[in-house]
């Protein structure tokens, strides 16, 4: 029998956090001569193929690892020259005067990335770097998804990557395992050790990249309002990339009352807006994709940032700050901090208190400060549901009528005292001016769903050119999913539960949340002997994990796939 596959360090997920960790660790090992073996497993067949992100980012962490990132070939689409925060009516757009745009939305100077390109570059350069080091062994395993966490007692011992039936052949053991995944696997760790007493809040980010006639490089818009006016916490974005490319997307929180968020349909409605229609005039769609985003922030952070034998990084930890729409630099920073600590730990062969030291370093640094400062951000909207449910739609309406200021004022005058108190309180929370550390409890996303909730009708411009609007099956084509034979990566735990759910929504005349909120035409209803049952077209799945999060009865689980199967987001 062959000896077990063993490394000093195992990185789960080809993510920004893990790749920065590896780069920094290799730099440190190059100086110290520390002998080190590292394995990196990634579920997509090629690095970057399962990566979707906005992505605007500050480059301060990147610069710590690559002081020459501007000239060394790191792929950057440009830098933000004009940053707008806009309110959309169904026909008009109102750019807020710069003076009243919250600081977190002023993105001038930020780098614009196609993150999938950046990830592939980081992975390639990492291998080049490792080749030059005689004291470091780096093995990368794209196309091998970590499927299961392996434990030795209460210590994380490694992961199992596939199910050939022979555990000794499928297991990677390591002194330390770093989880830089989006929760596909780290959720098991979080659950086993009950690390997250306050649940994570998730949103789904959905995005298209277009090649257009207009050159908008460096111009970015963040939008509020149309097409989501049902009170759901959400926003749109349009980023001008290099080479006349345009990223158009929506971020929709999944802790909505609305059981039918229809993210892909919403994105089409967003694109039907006359302003975006003008931007994409003469253009063509290059890529489509979606991914979930952890946005609970401070209150959703785990109690411990790791356990014996493992650390949580990036999105697995949940360091994204929803108030400033920034997660990438913080993800990278978790990798950077972990690398520094791990290097010391491997030199001393001492892993004691590693998770505590890591937590302290993260929370004492800028991540902790930013997340703490904006800790009330989501609470502001959760506690004041009229903000998005009534106030925002009223402003949107007045935007269409051409007098946004007046509209805002008129709404405020309706019930002046109540509305101004609410608004001031909410603003205080949003801007971090209200202090207080009382733990705010989130409810898990699916518990917010009210089956009977009916969204107000959205007026969609009828002028949109039909060739720019895609049905959901057509959109899937642009995410290019490919699956191996016999793939079954979404588990349905109990078919009876699905049947009951279908019955509830059938009575209401609505699709179930899994069907409506799927970004890729996976979930469906099959008629089996007169009974309506839940079915899935798994070959369409682009692995965003939304269905798992919105399933009202927690009856679905999206597992990482085998054999590098899944979408190809390279270019998003």
């Amino acid at each position: 029998m062959s000896p077990p596959i063993r490394y000093d360090l195992l990185l789960v997920g080809g993510s920004a956090s893990n790749l920065i960790l590896a780069h920094r660790l290799l730099d440190l090992a190059a100086k110290s001569g520390l002998p080190l073996t590292v394995a990196l497993v990634e579920k997509s067949a090629q690095f970057g193929a399962h990566i979707v992100s906005g992505a605007l980012t500050k480059t301060h962490i990147l610069e710590k690892v690559f002081p020459d990132f501007k000239t060394n070939g790191f792929p950057i689409e440009g830098y933000v020259t004009h940053s707008h925060l806009s309110v959309l009516g169904s026909e008009e757009r109102w750019d807020l005067p710069h003076a009243i745009v919250p600081k977190g939305f002023r993105k001038e100077g930020h780098a614009i990335l196609t993150l999938s390109h950046a990830i592939r570059w980081l992975a390639e350069q990492l291998q080049v770097k490792a080749k030059a080091l005689t004291n470091v062994v780096l093995d990368v395993f794209p196309g091998f998804a970590a499927q299961e966490i392996l434990y030795a007692g209460e210590r994380v011992a490694g992961v199992r990557v596939s199910a050939s039936g022979d555990v000794s052949e499928d297991a990677i053991f390591a002194e330390l395992t770093c989880f830089g995944d989006k929760g596909f696997l780290s959720k098991d760790l979080v659950e086993r050790f009950a690390l997250r007493p306050n649940p994570q809040l998730w949103s789904v980010g959905i995005k298209e990249v277009w090649e257009v006639d207009l050159d908008c490089q460096g111009v970015v818009w963040h939008t509020l309002g149309y097409p989501i006016l049902d009170g759901t916490f959400s926003g749109g974005f349009v980023y001008g990339l290099g080479h006349k490319k345009l990223a158009i997307g929506l971020v929709i929180s999944l802790d909505s009352k609305n059981p039918n968020l229809n993210p892909q349909l919403r994105l089409q409605q967003f694109k039907a807006h006359p302003w975006i229609q003008e931007l994409i005039q003469g253009g063509r769609l290059l890529k489509y994709g979606a991914a979930v985003i952890p946005e609970g922030g401070y209150y959703s952070l785990p109690t411990r940032f790791g356990v014996e034998g493992a650390l949580l990084l990036g999105d697995a930890l949940g360091v994204l700050d929803a108030a400033s729409l920034s997660g990438l630099d913080k993800s990278m920073e978790t990798g950077y901090i972990a690398a520094e600590l791990l290097h010391g730990a491997f030199v001393d062969r001492n892993f004691e208190d590693l998770a505590e030291r890591y937590k302290r370093a993260v929370m004492d640094g800028f991540i902790g400060q930013e997340l703490y400062a904006s800790r009330h951000f989501r609470r502001a909207f959760l506690e004041n549901d009229r903000l998005l449910g009534e106030y925002l739609p009223a402003v949107c309406q007045s935007v269409d009528q051409g007098h946004p200021w007046l509209g805002s004022l008129k709404f405020g005058l309706g019930k002046p005292i109540q509305r101004s108190t609410e608004t001031f309180q909410a603003l205080g929370l949003i801007l971090g001016r209200i202090s207080g550390d009382k733990l705010f409890r989130y409810t898990p996303c699916h518990e917010n769903i009210e089956p009977a909730f009916t969204q107000p009708a959205v007026a969609v411009s009828t002028q949109a050119r039909p060739e720019t609007i895609l049905s959901r099956p057509d959109a899937v084509f642009f995410a290019a999913p490919r699956y191996h034979e016999g793939n079954r990566h979404i588990e349905e735990f109990d078919p009876q539960t699905c049947r009951r759910c279908i019955a509830i929504y059938d009575r209401l005349g609505k699709p179930t949340p899994c069907i409506a909120d799927c970004t890729a035409e996976v979930h469906r209803i099959d008629e089996a002997g007169g009974v309506r049952v839940h079915g899935m077209s798994l070959e369409n799945c682009i692995q965003c994990r939304t269905c798992e999060i919105v399933c009202p009865s927690v009856n679905l689980r999206v597992n990482p796939t085998y054999e590098g199967s899944g979408p190809d987001f390279y270019g998003l």
Binding site: I5, D139, V140, V161, E169, H484
Partner: protein
């Protein structure tokens, strides 16, 4: 059990292949891949090892980049590999190729089974496997889709027209594997790790992947390459690309799209049923 599997690097079917002025394929320019038929042979070889133990040696003949498919074979679990690479082999036909491979197999030592793909996607002759068996003077089973070893005999099911046939012959033997046989399993973790280890460690690499030339294997250069090939390529005709016009009918209700397509009169009227 000593198992050999013969694999070949072929131009990627998805990419455009270049044609030399003499009509042969420009292998340096073409994007390359493991011959899809060889994937079944590889699976058969690995399957035999799983059931009956032993080692699998992958053998390939080709220019130096062919090492890519040997790495691929190792990622799938092959133990070792031999690459026969020699400029004098250029433009070999099936006879010369089978001779060179015969010399390589002889050089590799005693064997129980040699698995080959049914044919390649570049030459499409399906001759090399049978020719090799003749040279080795061992029995051959072609179009094999299932087999088992029963005391030093192989019992195999062959695909024949309209059905299948079960045959039995003593080992050693040459088996060409049909593409109805089990598909190649995904690469293994240990294999993927081994490949990276070999790419780092030159000494280990030259031990595991032996690169040999005609002199190493004791082949007669006159019987190889263009000189050893009785086949003469009389002419190669380039199939022209038909640059058609493509109209995309989209963005309207289905009925209107159908009307548009009919109005364009691109479908023969007798095929239209309303």
């Amino acid at each position: 059990m000593k198992i050999f599997v013969l694999i070949k690097q072929v131009p990627d079917q998805g990419a455009k292949a270049g044609i030399n002025p003499d009509g042969t394929i420009d292998r340096a320019k073409a994007k390359r891949m493991l011959n899809p038929f060889d994937r079944y042979a590889l699976e058969a070889a690995l399957h035999a090892r799983r059931l009956y133990g032993g080692t699998v040696t992958a053998i390939s003949m080709g220019p130096p980049p062919a090492i890519e498919i040997l790495y691929e074979a190792i990622a799938h679990g092959v133990d070792q590999a031999i690459l026969l690479s020699d400029r004098r082999l250029a433009a070999s036909d099936t006879l010369a190729t089978a001779y060179a491979l015969y010399c390589t197999v002889r050089y590799a030592g005693a064997f129980d089974l040699v698995f080959c793909g049914l044919q390649t996607t570049d030459g499409d002759t399906a001759q090399v496997g049978p020719q090799l068996a003749e040279r080795l003077q061992v029995p051959q089973i072609t179009y094999c889709e299932k087999f088992e070893i029963d005391h030093s005999e192989i019992v195999a099911r062959r695909v024949i027209e309209g059905g299948s046939q079960t045959v039995r012959c003593p080992l050693p033997a040459v088996v060409t594997v049909a593409n109805s046989a089990p598909r190649l399993a995904y690469k293994t973790l240990r294999g993927a790790r081994r490949v990276q280890q070999l790419q780092r460690d030159e000494a280990e690499r030259s031990r595991v992947i032996r690169t040999v030339n005609l002199d190493d294997i004791g082949a007669d250069p006159v019987r190889c390459g263009l000189k050893g090939s009785p086949t003469i390529v009389a002419a190669t005709e380039k199939v022209g690309e038909i640059g058609g016009n493509c109209t995309l009918y989209q963005g309207k209700p289905l009925q209107q799209l159908v009307d548009d397509v009919l109005a364009a009169q691109v479908i023969a009227p007798e095929l239209v049923k309303r």
